[in-house]
Symmetry: C2
Subunit: 168 residues, 2 copies
DNA sequence: TTACTCATGTAACAAGTTACATGATTTA
DNA sequence: TAAATCATGTAACTTGTTACATGAGTAA
């Protein structure tokens, strides 16, 4: 069974075509909707594992550097599809830092609560603006992911507003 | 800086009052909105760390077993509040298995896509039903978390329906 | 007395993180 | 030629996972 990082690496390679590990890492670290840091210490070992298992093929670019172009094999595509199309894993709620903290916020008294909720709300709005900006220079596949991030943030925002309204 | 698990353990202790590590673990493994497995190998070391750092106090129950009742110290409460009220961490989108996979689903052709989206939709609905059931026998703090899970799932459902509608 | 639950904990392993090492190419 | 970027990789560490070991109390 692929880890979330492994699945994401395969997705990235499948989506953008032949890429270096470095390019995959950079996608991860710059994308606002992929949370992976793109750590060398995570990405290179993951690729090594998947090469060993025949999910990824590599070929030297021959540019004088050690550059290797990676691609998804037929076996890799199958593994990726199995990873992507498992309804149980896909629909799990995941580990959501906002949800983890919401219960504590509800226990705060008036002024402190308002202060915290306002700060979080502000941060959400700023994040959503960044996401909206990013959405403009991506393709339709990337936009799906950004769109889902935006929907999540909007749902959180609605919750915040209903909580604030509930106490006047 | 507390990890998400450490923060969750402190939240649980603070919310329910003096508890054994075993009870905390059970809460984690039965709650539908806390994703932690409640692994002994994660929870006991986390508690040990926080005891060492003075965030958790323990006292023997003296029931013949090795039972120890844990509670959050003043220092622990402060650490928990700092953890909970950091807007940056709270509003991060997190690692969302649904979003990670959405891009791949969009690349599937007609019949296969419909099949996958239907299966995911079904799983979402079942999960939401379980959440709704759970919501009835929790207190207001727990309900906040379950409510947020439901909103996330509803946002995903809306997205699925719009995607399905977009192709007729 | 057998099985289940409560209760704590460790060992082996998996898979992330940061920080570092190394070196080629490109740009200012 | 100095600095930035491209590119690969390892080492030490952190913190999760499952599986196991141990033992007391409780209910069949």
């Amino acid at each position: 069974m692929l880890t979330e990082l492994e699945g994401s690496v395969l997705s990235e390679l499948h989506h953008r075509g032949r890429q270096t590990a470095f390019q995959v890492r950079r996608s991860f670290s710059t994308s606002p909707s992929i949370e992976w840091r793109g750590s060398a210490g995570a990405v290179y070992p993951a690729i090594k594992r998947m090469e060993r298992d025949g999910l990824i093929a590599a070929e030297a670019k021959g540019d004088g550097r050690a550059t290797r172009l990676l691609s998804v094999t037929a076996e890799g595509l199958e593994a990726m599809m199995q990873w992507a199309c498992d309804p149980g894993r896909a629909s799990s709620v995941g580990i959501d830092p906002f949800r983890m903290r919401a219960g504590i916020w509800m226990q705060l008294e008036g002024a402190r609560r308002a202060e915290v909720l306002t700060a979080v709300r502000q941060e959400l709005l700023e994040g959503m603006e960044r996401l909206a900006g990013w959405s403009r220079h991506g393709d339709s596949i990337e936009r799906a992911s950004v769109d889902l991030s935006l929907r999540l943030q909007r749902a959180r925002l609605d919750w915040l507003d209903e909580v604030a309204q509930g106490e006047g």
